[in-house]
Symmetry: C2
Subunit: 528 residues, 2 copies
Amino acid sequence: MAILGEMIIGAHSVRGAGTEVFGFNPATREDLQPGFGQATGDDVERACALASEAFDPYRALPLEGRAAFLEMVAEEILAIGPELIERAQLETGLPQARLEGERMRTVTQLRLFAKVVRDGYFMDATIDSALPERAPPRPDLRLRKIGLGPVVVFGASNFPLAFSVAGGDTASALAAGCPVVVKAHSAHPGTSELVGRAVQRAVKACGLPEGVFSMLFGDGRTVGQQLVSHPAIKAVGFTGSRQGGLALLRTAAARPEPIPVYAEMSSVNPVFLLPAAVQAGGATLAQGFVDSLTLGVGQFCTNPGLVFALAGAELDAFVAASAQALGAKGAGTMLTAGIHDAYTKGVTAFNTVDGLQLVAQGTTEGNGCAAQAALYVCDAATYMGNPALEDEVFGPCAVLVRFTDAAQMLQAAEHLHGQLTVTVHAREGDLDLAAKLLPIVERKAGRVLFNGFPTGVEVAHAMVHGGPFPATSDSRTTSVGASAIDRFLRPVCYQNVPGSLLPEALRDDNPLGLSRLQDGTLQVGGGK
Amino acid sequence: MAILGEMIIGAHSVRGAGTEVFGFNPATREDLQPGFGQATGDDVERACALASEAFDPYRALPLEGRAAFLEMVAEEILAIGPELIERAQLETGLPQARLEGERMRTVTQLRLFAKVVRDGYFMDATIDSALPERAPPRPDLRLRKIGLGPVVVFGASNFPLAFSVAGGDTASALAAGCPVVVKAHSAHPGTSELVGRAVQRAVKACGLPEGVFSMLFGDGRTVGQQLVSHPAIKAVGFTGSRQGGLALLRTAAARPEPIPVYAEMSSVNPVFLLPAAVQAGGATLAQGFVDSLTLGVGQFCTNPGLVFALAGAELDAFVAASAQALGAKGAGTMLTAGIHDAYTKGVTAFNTVDGLQLVAQGTTEGNGCAAQAALYVCDAATYMGNPALEDEVFGPCAVLVRFTDAAQMLQAAEHLHGQLTVTVHAREGDLDLAAKLLPIVERKAGRVLFNGFPTGVEVAHAMVHGGPFPATSDSRTTSVGASAIDRFLRPVCYQNVPGSLLPEALRDDNPLGLSRLQDGTLQVGGGK
């Protein structure tokens, strides 16, 4: 399938009349063909108007139709074949195996949301029967959740498939019954066009209203802001920088009708190494840490950028082993020149912090966008005195803080900002300290994990990829896993609505076989 | 129990050093004794610090302890006895029977949340078992929801018990495991002190950390803003004016760490009278409408302030019957001098709108804060040309819009802002039109009700007292009913956490007997 440099506006492929932009090969630092025309205000208007028109018919579709559509999107993405992986490789510098894995993750995610739709738990169907004899009589009350309305999704640079055009935000919004307008990320426009066309084909094959999906190219500060400001848009999904997320939050809050922005922004994903775990883990623990730190050139939201441990001979051995493991890590190509520049700037700033010691680096070979991994060590006073050490440096760089005792470590835990993850390495002898740590870190993070590393975010029902500010803009939600659908829903109560007008989910005969809360008691449905 | 003019800061009763304010009797327009000292910045600091300290131990309490505490609050409120009703009557002008009903509603609400806590559905307990054989292996993932942290609740003027110190916001936040700091409404300080002391006694009787509950007096613009700005505070519940709600939203969004504000603000609660219903309903329908319009002197969030109907002889008869019913309604005392002034101003503004015709009024006898009910009629062009006609005039005043045909009525429905409720009166012959109306109005309102009136909000599992902006600041939520607890929760995922450290809700042996989503399938627990 040829890449034409076109946007998707409903059923149409449209070349944007705005400034032309190009994909960029970070390995060669060369532009890629073709050019992509960016959206004008008219394109934004048209995509949003189509999305608005599509909302009622799309959400009225039977659940089975919505689920089949999500599965069709997955099929159409697979049907693109090797061209998708090849183009994504060129645009991102990510290796083939990683991109193939990411494609499978994207497809699995769409299929999970098809199941979520069919199961129908997301609607929180609830019925309180009428009590006509009570004084005063209680009316018949039935609750279900419906979609918020059209959603704008911003593609992320670091997962060109799984957090982009048909990634988790799009899949969960479509599952909720919300049309989606994607603002494609300029770092992988060709990959975006291929996936955008796949979604467009699925819309057509399923006979859905065309406005269910559109995809525009453009700058976040212009097209992105126009989309978030548009009155038809009712929610925003974003994964990216704190600066970018906060700009969208401000715009959304300043609208005549404010709307929710789900921005996943920045996290240093602290790792607590408790004493017995350091002693028992030895070089294996160090290797696991370094592998996680350098995975995907450190370009994961859940990259472990901060390590807390107690000073001592065992920790010195861990640092030495980590230094050795890191020294063997080659410099990997980063996603974009901008990300590479920011990483270089971040590491340079660390080098000027008094008391922060560079203890290990990766190798330096590689092309112009290759990043050299780095590990720093400091004491508690240096850490507590330098709030910037808790700011994310996006890439394979970490700070290890040596504490003199557990109380000092707990105090630093209390001092943490919101995080996507907190990791605890603990063995038998650490459990008392771990029990003290747990209530603190569960206040700080969306996911608390033991004896592993935070990279690798399972697409599952129990996953939380979220967390308190500034990890995200809304700690009440997750952007990965089945619960991601909750972000795009709102409850509606139907009071004494005649049976013939009730939504299927709430009818007495329960034609969808849903599990429902009936008069305060959960009743499991048999499914359809 | 004497009313001393004191605030509650944890276990202490404190007289605020700020400007003294007095309760006000709207029937006599006289100040009530004693004076109440308003909070200083130090009081705010102390209450918030105590709430922060109390959060971990309070949320660690077994569910049964949290439920018993909510029931104890209910008991302590009942134990105040007639003094509470007498004081509330003096401060609000509301009749005894209404206040006794409201007290029962408050108590019922606390008991409902005790049940919600015991049932444990609110935690959304979810388990995805480890799949060690899979490549890559899936870790053990477990999700539960925990409280957001300390919550500030603003007492509302119009429900001095059910939406005030121990009302729905406080009950649902406490149920979620969040300490509460109440900013008492200055319109009923004595009532607030009595209820605040009741909660304080319950905290003590249950042996809870004192910071679980505090209550301050003060102005919204000073003490209210200080509370919402305080870093210990993680969410805000508010019921009141749009202006007040928006001010809190702005402050919360501008914090270094933005926090959610659940502001229930303004709604005109449109009532659609479909043709067959108007014909069949006759004078009974008119009486029902007028009763709802004037209930509680129109001082309900769900007061029906806007009526849409098709022009014709049947509608003329309905208007005539409404005019007659309204003419028999006495002028009731409004809650405060400020509310009365605003109502007078709103009605005066209506009298100057070209094309808006005053067709009926209530009687004028009554004291200085008594409000004369009013009904206006206009055509579609007048309505569509005057956006102010959709702004809430808080009190017993409504606008009826006559449409020439159903298409025009549907267009006006599409034009509505967000609302707490939309009501549809429909008989057999109206069902086709109702079916067209339903998808529109469910996008506009939190509750859609048929063949009744919107006043009267049942405290139940399926209730939604919420809706799109500007009815509330967050359409994803409700402030009445069991789901109100969801506002104060966030999910946490526990990955490979050792069994001995897992929260009870997520242990393999399910000691709480919770219903849980196990590997994607809902499993109903037997309860404890």
